[in-house]
Assembly symmetry: C2
Homo-oligomer: 196 residues x 2
DNA sequence: CCTCCTCCATACGCCTCCGTATGGAGACTT
DNA sequence: AAGTCTCCATACGGAGGCGTATGGAGGAGG
Protein backbone atom coordinates (compact mmCIF):
# COMPACT_ATOMS: atom_id res chain seq x y z
CA UNK A 1 0.00 0.00 0.00
CA UNK A 2 2.59 2.42 -1.00
CA UNK A 3 0.51 4.59 -3.26
CA UNK A 4 -1.24 7.68 -2.09
CA UNK A 5 0.50 10.46 -0.24
CA UNK A 6 3.66 9.30 1.37
CA UNK A 7 6.02 11.90 2.65
CA UNK A 8 8.99 9.66 2.16
CA UNK A 9 10.75 9.61 -1.17
CA UNK A 10 10.70 6.83 -3.67
CA UNK A 11 12.87 6.02 -6.65
CA UNK A 12 10.50 7.99 -8.87
CA UNK A 13 11.28 11.20 -7.02
CA UNK A 14 14.97 10.69 -7.64
CA UNK A 15 14.59 9.92 -11.32
CA UNK A 16 12.34 12.92 -11.83
CA UNK A 17 14.83 15.19 -10.12
CA UNK A 18 17.64 13.59 -12.09
CA UNK A 19 15.84 14.20 -15.37
CA UNK A 20 15.40 17.83 -14.43
CA UNK A 21 19.04 18.15 -13.53
CA UNK A 22 19.99 16.44 -16.76
CA UNK A 23 18.05 19.01 -18.74
CA UNK A 24 19.54 21.89 -16.83
CA UNK A 25 23.16 20.97 -16.29
CA UNK A 26 23.92 18.02 -18.48
CA UNK A 27 25.01 14.59 -17.46
CA UNK A 28 27.47 15.89 -14.89
CA UNK A 29 24.59 17.45 -13.01
CA UNK A 30 23.13 14.04 -12.34
CA UNK A 31 25.12 13.76 -9.15
CA UNK A 32 23.94 12.13 -5.99
CA UNK A 33 24.86 14.68 -3.38
CA UNK A 34 23.60 17.76 -5.20
CA UNK A 35 20.35 15.99 -5.99
CA UNK A 36 20.02 15.02 -2.36
CA UNK A 37 20.45 18.61 -1.30
CA UNK A 38 17.88 19.67 -3.85
CA UNK A 39 15.43 17.10 -2.60
CA UNK A 40 16.04 18.12 0.98
CA UNK A 41 17.47 14.79 1.98
CA UNK A 42 20.82 13.01 2.07
CA UNK A 43 22.74 10.33 0.27
CA UNK A 44 21.51 7.82 2.78
CA UNK A 45 18.13 7.97 1.11
CA UNK A 46 19.56 7.56 -2.35
CA UNK A 47 21.66 4.53 -1.65
CA UNK A 48 18.67 2.88 -0.12
CA UNK A 49 16.69 3.09 -3.34
CA UNK A 50 19.52 2.72 -5.84
CA UNK A 51 22.65 0.62 -6.08
CA UNK A 52 24.80 3.43 -7.38
CA UNK A 53 24.84 6.47 -9.60
CA UNK A 54 24.75 4.37 -12.70
CA UNK A 55 21.48 2.79 -11.65
CA UNK A 56 19.98 6.24 -11.31
CA UNK A 57 21.27 7.12 -14.73
CA UNK A 58 19.74 4.02 -16.23
CA UNK A 59 16.38 4.74 -14.63
CA UNK A 60 16.50 8.35 -15.75
CA UNK A 61 17.29 7.45 -19.32
CA UNK A 62 14.54 4.88 -19.29
CA UNK A 63 12.08 7.46 -18.05
CA UNK A 64 13.09 9.92 -20.74
CA UNK A 65 12.91 7.32 -23.46
CA UNK A 66 9.48 6.23 -22.34
CA UNK A 67 8.16 9.77 -22.26
CA UNK A 68 9.71 10.51 -25.62
CA UNK A 69 8.19 7.45 -27.21
CA UNK A 70 4.77 8.39 -25.93
CA UNK A 71 5.23 11.88 -27.23
CA UNK A 72 6.19 10.61 -30.66
CA UNK A 73 3.30 8.24 -31.08
CA UNK A 74 0.93 10.84 -29.70
CA UNK A 75 1.92 13.47 -32.22
CA UNK A 76 1.70 11.00 -35.02
CA UNK A 77 -2.06 11.18 -35.27
CA UNK A 78 -3.95 14.23 -36.38
CA UNK A 79 -4.13 15.15 -40.02
CA UNK A 80 -5.04 12.43 -42.48
CA UNK A 81 -2.81 12.95 -45.49
CA UNK A 82 0.92 12.25 -45.14
CA UNK A 83 2.01 15.64 -46.39
CA UNK A 84 0.05 17.41 -43.70
CA UNK A 85 1.38 15.05 -41.09
CA UNK A 86 4.96 15.62 -42.12
CA UNK A 87 4.44 19.36 -42.25
CA UNK A 88 2.82 19.36 -38.87
CA UNK A 89 5.50 17.18 -37.35
CA UNK A 90 8.37 19.28 -38.62
CA UNK A 91 6.68 22.50 -37.75
CA UNK A 92 6.05 21.32 -34.22
CA UNK A 93 9.57 20.06 -33.76
CA UNK A 94 11.30 23.15 -35.07
CA UNK A 95 8.98 25.59 -33.35
CA UNK A 96 9.11 23.91 -29.96
CA UNK A 97 12.86 24.10 -29.85
CA UNK A 98 12.99 27.61 -28.70
CA UNK A 99 11.84 30.82 -30.08
CA UNK A 100 12.68 33.64 -27.76
CA UNK A 101 13.47 32.34 -24.32
CA UNK A 102 11.45 29.23 -23.67
CA UNK A 103 13.94 26.45 -24.07
CA UNK A 104 12.05 23.57 -22.62
CA UNK A 105 12.07 21.04 -25.43
CA UNK A 106 15.02 19.09 -26.62
CA UNK A 107 17.42 20.09 -23.90
CA UNK A 108 17.61 16.57 -22.55
CA UNK A 109 18.34 15.30 -25.99
CA UNK A 110 21.17 17.78 -26.40
CA UNK A 111 22.59 16.87 -23.03
CA UNK A 112 22.62 13.23 -24.03
CA UNK A 113 24.07 14.01 -27.40
CA UNK A 114 26.91 15.73 -25.63
CA UNK A 115 27.58 12.74 -23.41
CA UNK A 116 27.40 9.94 -25.92
CA UNK A 117 30.71 8.64 -24.68
CA UNK A 118 28.79 7.02 -21.87
CA UNK A 119 27.67 3.64 -23.23
CA UNK A 120 24.28 3.79 -21.54
CA UNK A 121 23.62 7.16 -23.08
CA UNK A 122 24.78 6.03 -26.49
CA UNK A 123 22.42 3.08 -26.43
CA UNK A 124 19.27 4.94 -25.55
CA UNK A 125 20.17 7.75 -27.87
CA UNK A 126 20.65 5.31 -30.69
CA UNK A 127 17.30 3.69 -30.01
CA UNK A 128 15.42 6.96 -29.87
CA UNK A 129 17.12 8.40 -32.91
CA UNK A 130 16.54 5.22 -34.84
CA UNK A 131 12.85 5.28 -34.02
CA UNK A 132 12.49 8.91 -35.02
CA UNK A 133 14.28 8.31 -38.27
CA UNK A 134 11.98 5.42 -39.02
CA UNK A 135 8.94 7.58 -38.41
CA UNK A 136 10.27 10.30 -40.69
CA UNK A 137 11.32 7.80 -43.29
CA UNK A 138 7.88 6.23 -43.32
CA UNK A 139 6.32 9.61 -43.90
CA UNK A 140 8.57 10.29 -46.86
CA UNK A 141 7.73 6.90 -48.26
CA UNK A 142 4.08 7.80 -47.98
CA UNK A 143 4.88 10.88 -49.99
CA UNK A 144 6.02 8.62 -52.80
CA UNK A 145 9.77 8.45 -52.33
CA UNK A 146 11.74 5.29 -52.79
CA UNK A 147 12.89 3.78 -49.48
CA UNK A 148 16.54 4.70 -49.98
CA UNK A 149 15.82 8.29 -50.84
CA UNK A 150 13.23 8.48 -48.11
CA UNK A 151 15.81 7.50 -45.57
CA UNK A 152 18.21 10.11 -46.87
CA UNK A 153 15.60 12.82 -46.62
CA UNK A 154 14.60 11.66 -43.18
CA UNK A 155 18.19 11.88 -42.07
CA UNK A 156 18.49 15.35 -43.53
CA UNK A 157 15.35 16.49 -41.77
CA UNK A 158 16.51 15.08 -38.48
CA UNK A 159 20.00 16.49 -38.70
CA UNK A 160 18.50 19.86 -39.51
CA UNK A 161 16.32 19.56 -36.44
CA UNK A 162 19.26 18.59 -34.29
CA UNK A 163 21.41 21.46 -35.47
CA UNK A 164 18.48 23.80 -35.09
CA UNK A 165 18.09 22.77 -31.47
CA UNK A 166 21.82 23.04 -31.02
CA UNK A 167 21.99 26.61 -32.25
CA UNK A 168 18.93 27.65 -30.32
CA UNK A 169 20.48 26.30 -27.17
CA UNK A 170 24.13 27.26 -27.48
CA UNK A 171 24.02 30.50 -29.41
CA UNK A 172 20.43 31.72 -29.30
CA UNK A 173 21.47 35.16 -30.45
CA UNK A 174 22.11 33.76 -33.90
CA UNK A 175 18.59 32.44 -34.15
CA UNK A 176 15.98 34.75 -35.65
CA UNK A 177 13.40 36.02 -33.22
CA UNK A 178 9.70 36.57 -33.32
CA UNK A 179 8.35 36.97 -36.82
CA UNK A 180 11.67 36.18 -38.47
CA UNK A 181 11.77 32.93 -36.54
CA UNK A 182 8.37 31.94 -37.84
CA UNK A 183 9.25 32.63 -41.43
CA UNK A 184 12.51 30.77 -41.00
CA UNK A 185 10.72 27.71 -39.72
CA UNK A 186 8.27 27.96 -42.59
CA UNK A 187 11.13 28.15 -45.05
CA UNK A 188 12.88 25.19 -43.48
CA UNK A 189 9.77 23.06 -43.48
CA UNK A 190 9.15 23.98 -47.07
CA UNK A 191 12.66 23.00 -48.06
CA UNK A 192 12.47 19.72 -46.18
CA UNK A 193 9.07 18.77 -47.51
CA UNK A 194 9.88 19.62 -51.08
CA UNK A 195 10.99 16.39 -52.71
CA UNK A 196 11.24 17.67 -56.26
CA UNK B 1 62.66 19.28 -31.41
CA UNK B 2 60.09 20.62 -33.76
CA UNK B 3 59.71 24.34 -33.29
CA UNK B 4 62.51 25.93 -31.37
CA UNK B 5 65.43 24.16 -29.81
CA UNK B 6 64.19 24.34 -26.28
CA UNK B 7 63.45 21.19 -24.42
CA UNK B 8 61.42 23.04 -21.85
CA UNK B 9 57.74 23.57 -22.41
CA UNK B 10 56.08 26.81 -23.33
CA UNK B 11 52.47 27.95 -23.23
CA UNK B 12 52.03 26.75 -26.81
CA UNK B 13 52.67 23.17 -25.79
CA UNK B 14 49.98 23.38 -23.19
CA UNK B 15 47.41 24.91 -25.49
CA UNK B 16 48.11 22.35 -28.17
CA UNK B 17 47.70 19.52 -25.69
CA UNK B 18 44.58 21.17 -24.34
CA UNK B 19 43.06 21.43 -27.80
CA UNK B 20 43.73 17.76 -28.35
CA UNK B 21 42.16 16.88 -25.05
CA UNK B 22 39.20 19.09 -25.85
CA UNK B 23 38.61 17.21 -29.07
CA UNK B 24 38.90 13.86 -27.37
CA UNK B 25 37.18 14.25 -24.05
CA UNK B 26 35.27 17.48 -24.14
CA UNK B 27 35.73 20.50 -21.95
CA UNK B 28 36.10 18.45 -18.81
CA UNK B 29 39.19 16.85 -20.27
CA UNK B 30 40.94 20.20 -20.30
CA UNK B 31 42.23 19.59 -16.80
CA UNK B 32 45.60 20.66 -15.51
CA UNK B 33 46.79 17.55 -13.78
CA UNK B 34 45.87 15.05 -16.49
CA UNK B 35 47.44 17.28 -19.11
CA UNK B 36 50.57 17.55 -17.04
CA UNK B 37 50.78 13.78 -16.84
CA UNK B 38 50.28 13.54 -20.57
CA UNK B 39 53.03 16.06 -21.19
CA UNK B 40 55.33 14.29 -18.84
CA UNK B 41 55.54 17.16 -16.41
CA UNK B 42 53.71 18.47 -13.38
CA UNK B 43 51.36 21.24 -12.35
CA UNK B 44 54.34 23.32 -11.30
CA UNK B 45 55.12 23.89 -14.94
CA UNK B 46 51.58 24.83 -15.80
CA UNK B 47 51.09 27.40 -13.10
CA UNK B 48 54.30 29.03 -14.17
CA UNK B 49 52.99 29.72 -17.66
CA UNK B 50 49.32 30.27 -16.87
CA UNK B 51 47.42 32.01 -14.15
CA UNK B 52 44.80 29.31 -13.82
CA UNK B 53 42.76 26.81 -15.76
CA UNK B 54 40.58 29.50 -17.22
CA UNK B 55 43.58 31.17 -18.81
CA UNK B 56 44.44 27.91 -20.50
CA UNK B 57 40.89 27.62 -21.71
CA UNK B 58 40.97 31.11 -23.15
CA UNK B 59 44.21 30.44 -24.97
CA UNK B 60 42.93 27.14 -26.28
CA UNK B 61 39.74 28.65 -27.60
CA UNK B 62 41.71 31.44 -29.20
CA UNK B 63 43.95 28.92 -30.93
CA UNK B 64 40.99 26.97 -32.24
CA UNK B 65 39.23 30.06 -33.45
CA UNK B 66 42.32 31.26 -35.25
CA UNK B 67 42.86 27.93 -36.95
CA UNK B 68 39.22 27.71 -37.88
CA UNK B 69 39.20 31.16 -39.40
CA UNK B 70 42.22 30.33 -41.50
CA UNK B 71 40.60 27.14 -42.62
CA UNK B 72 37.44 28.94 -43.63
CA UNK B 73 39.11 31.63 -45.67
CA UNK B 74 41.41 29.04 -47.22
CA UNK B 75 38.56 26.89 -48.46
CA UNK B 76 36.77 29.88 -49.83
CA UNK B 77 38.87 30.10 -52.95
CA UNK B 78 38.83 27.53 -55.73
CA UNK B 79 36.01 27.38 -58.20
CA UNK B 80 34.94 30.62 -59.81
CA UNK B 81 31.17 30.54 -59.94
CA UNK B 82 29.24 30.79 -56.67
CA UNK B 83 27.24 27.62 -57.23
CA UNK B 84 30.38 25.55 -57.55
CA UNK B 85 31.82 27.20 -54.49
CA UNK B 86 28.75 26.48 -52.40
CA UNK B 87 28.60 22.93 -53.66
CA UNK B 88 32.25 22.41 -52.90
CA UNK B 89 32.00 23.96 -49.47
CA UNK B 90 29.02 21.89 -48.42
CA UNK B 91 30.42 18.74 -49.86
CA UNK B 92 33.67 19.23 -48.03
CA UNK B 93 31.98 20.03 -44.75
CA UNK B 94 29.60 17.10 -44.82
CA UNK B 95 32.13 14.62 -46.08
CA UNK B 96 34.84 15.54 -43.64
CA UNK B 97 32.60 14.99 -40.69
CA UNK B 98 33.06 11.31 -40.63
CA UNK B 99 32.39 8.59 -43.00
CA UNK B 100 33.37 5.29 -41.53
CA UNK B 101 35.72 5.78 -38.63
CA UNK B 102 37.80 8.87 -39.21
CA UNK B 103 36.25 11.44 -36.94
CA UNK B 104 38.84 14.12 -37.02
CA UNK B 105 36.89 17.17 -38.09
CA UNK B 106 34.32 19.01 -36.10
CA UNK B 107 34.86 17.24 -32.83
CA UNK B 108 36.15 20.38 -31.15
CA UNK B 109 33.12 22.24 -32.34
CA UNK B 110 30.82 19.61 -30.90
CA UNK B 111 32.67 19.67 -27.62
CA UNK B 112 32.22 23.42 -27.43
CA UNK B 113 28.60 23.20 -28.45
CA UNK B 114 28.08 20.87 -25.54
CA UNK B 115 29.68 23.26 -23.08
CA UNK B 116 28.10 26.50 -24.12
CA UNK B 117 27.16 27.18 -20.54
CA UNK B 118 30.70 28.40 -20.05
CA UNK B 119 30.66 32.09 -21.04
CA UNK B 120 34.04 31.93 -22.71
CA UNK B 121 32.94 29.04 -24.83
CA UNK B 122 29.67 30.70 -25.72
CA UNK B 123 31.46 33.81 -26.92
CA UNK B 124 33.91 32.14 -29.24
CA UNK B 125 31.27 29.77 -30.48
CA UNK B 126 29.01 32.69 -31.29
CA UNK B 127 31.78 34.46 -33.18
CA UNK B 128 32.72 31.42 -35.23
CA UNK B 129 29.14 30.48 -35.99
CA UNK B 130 28.32 34.02 -36.95
CA UNK B 131 31.22 34.16 -39.35
CA UNK B 132 30.32 30.87 -40.96
CA UNK B 133 26.73 31.93 -41.37
CA UNK B 134 27.86 35.11 -43.02
CA UNK B 135 29.99 33.19 -45.48
CA UNK B 136 27.13 30.87 -46.33
CA UNK B 137 24.70 33.72 -46.54
CA UNK B 138 26.94 35.60 -48.95
CA UNK B 139 27.13 32.57 -51.18
CA UNK B 140 23.36 32.27 -51.31
CA UNK B 141 23.12 35.96 -52.12
CA UNK B 142 25.51 35.38 -54.98
CA UNK B 143 23.15 32.71 -56.15
CA UNK B 144 20.46 35.34 -56.47
CA UNK B 145 18.52 35.06 -53.24
CA UNK B 146 17.27 38.05 -51.33
CA UNK B 147 19.27 38.73 -48.16
CA UNK B 148 16.56 37.58 -45.81
CA UNK B 149 15.97 34.32 -47.61
CA UNK B 150 19.69 33.84 -48.07
CA UNK B 151 20.16 34.03 -44.35
CA UNK B 152 17.41 31.52 -43.76
CA UNK B 153 18.96 29.10 -46.21
CA UNK B 154 22.38 29.63 -44.70
CA UNK B 155 20.99 28.83 -41.28
CA UNK B 156 19.32 25.71 -42.62
CA UNK B 157 22.53 24.55 -44.26
CA UNK B 158 24.51 25.16 -41.12
CA UNK B 159 22.05 23.48 -38.80
CA UNK B 160 22.01 20.51 -41.16
CA UNK B 161 25.78 20.40 -40.97
CA UNK B 162 25.73 20.61 -37.20
CA UNK B 163 23.21 17.85 -36.81
CA UNK B 164 25.08 15.77 -39.35
CA UNK B 165 28.24 16.08 -37.31
CA UNK B 166 26.26 15.36 -34.18
CA UNK B 167 24.84 12.11 -35.50
CA UNK B 168 28.14 11.01 -36.96
CA UNK B 169 29.76 11.53 -33.61
CA UNK B 170 27.18 10.32 -31.14
CA UNK B 171 25.43 7.54 -33.03
CA UNK B 172 27.62 6.70 -36.01
CA UNK B 173 25.73 3.46 -36.59
CA UNK B 174 22.78 5.46 -37.83
CA UNK B 175 24.88 7.16 -40.45
CA UNK B 176 25.11 5.47 -43.85
CA UNK B 177 28.47 4.01 -44.68
CA UNK B 178 30.61 3.83 -47.73
CA UNK B 179 28.69 4.29 -50.93
CA UNK B 180 25.43 5.06 -49.17
CA UNK B 181 27.18 7.82 -47.28
CA UNK B 182 28.37 9.40 -50.50
CA UNK B 183 24.96 9.35 -52.08
CA UNK B 184 23.47 10.76 -48.91
CA UNK B 185 25.88 13.66 -48.92
CA UNK B 186 25.13 14.24 -52.58
CA UNK B 187 21.43 14.26 -51.85
CA UNK B 188 21.85 16.66 -48.96
CA UNK B 189 23.98 19.04 -50.95
CA UNK B 190 21.49 18.93 -53.77
CA UNK B 191 18.64 19.74 -51.41
CA UNK B 192 20.53 22.57 -49.77
CA UNK B 193 21.70 24.11 -53.02
CA UNK B 194 18.32 23.91 -54.66
CA UNK B 195 16.68 27.26 -54.10
CA UNK B 196 13.67 26.79 -56.34
C1' DC C 1 83.13 30.98 -8.84
C1' DC C 2 79.08 33.12 -7.33
C1' DT C 3 74.65 34.88 -8.13
C1' DC C 4 70.41 35.52 -10.02
C1' DC C 5 66.72 34.18 -12.78
C1' DT C 6 63.94 30.87 -15.27
C1' DC C 7 61.51 26.80 -15.08
C1' DC C 8 59.77 22.87 -12.80
C1' DA C 9 59.01 19.14 -8.84
C1' DT C 10 56.99 18.20 -4.55
C1' DA C 11 54.04 18.77 -0.97
C1' DC C 12 50.12 20.75 1.07
C1' DG C 13 45.20 22.30 2.00
C1' DC C 14 40.75 22.71 0.09
C1' DC C 15 36.76 21.24 -2.40
C1' DT C 16 33.38 18.03 -4.55
C1' DC C 17 31.79 13.76 -5.49
C1' DC C 18 31.39 8.56 -4.90
C1' DG C 19 30.33 4.63 -2.15
C1' DT C 20 30.09 2.26 2.65
C1' DA C 21 29.11 1.59 7.41
C1' DT C 22 26.38 2.30 11.13
C1' DG C 23 23.00 3.98 14.04
C1' DG C 24 18.81 5.49 14.79
C1' DA C 25 13.43 7.29 14.23
C1' DG C 26 8.96 5.76 12.99
C1' DA C 27 5.62 2.78 11.64
C1' DC C 28 3.85 -1.77 11.46
C1' DT C 29 3.23 -6.28 13.22
C1' DT C 30 2.29 -9.71 16.91
C1' DA D 1 4.83 -3.50 24.86
C1' DA D 2 8.35 -5.51 22.53
C1' DG D 3 10.18 -6.67 18.26
C1' DT D 4 10.86 -5.85 13.34
C1' DC D 5 11.19 -3.62 9.15
C1' DT D 6 11.50 0.54 6.25
C1' DC D 7 13.70 4.58 5.36
C1' DC D 8 17.03 8.06 6.21
C1' DA D 9 21.00 10.89 8.74
C1' DT D 10 25.69 11.04 9.90
C1' DA D 11 30.29 9.91 9.66
C1' DC D 12 34.05 7.98 7.23
C1' DG D 13 37.58 6.85 3.63
C1' DG D 14 39.01 7.43 -0.98
C1' DA D 15 39.68 9.51 -5.55
C1' DG D 16 40.58 13.40 -8.43
C1' DG D 17 40.87 18.17 -9.45
C1' DC D 18 42.31 23.22 -8.32
C1' DG D 19 45.43 26.48 -6.67
C1' DT D 20 49.56 27.81 -3.50
C1' DA D 21 53.97 27.55 -1.32
C1' DT D 22 58.42 26.38 -1.37
C1' DG D 23 62.59 24.46 -2.70
C1' DG D 24 65.64 23.21 -5.81
C1' DA D 25 68.29 22.30 -10.81
C1' DG D 26 70.50 24.58 -14.28
C1' DG D 27 71.89 27.95 -17.35
C1' DA D 28 73.09 33.26 -18.06
C1' DG D 29 75.59 36.96 -16.47
C1' DG D 30 78.78 39.25 -13.56
Amino acid sequence: MATGKRQSLGPADWTRAALDALARGGLAAVAVEPLAKELGTTKGSFYWHFADRNALLAATLKLWERRDTERVVASLDEAPDPLSRLRRLLHLAFSSVGDGEAETAGTVELALQASASQPLVAETLARVTKRRLEVLSALYVELGLAPARARDRALLAYTAYLGHAQIAHATPDLMPRGRAFTTHVDDVVKALVDVD
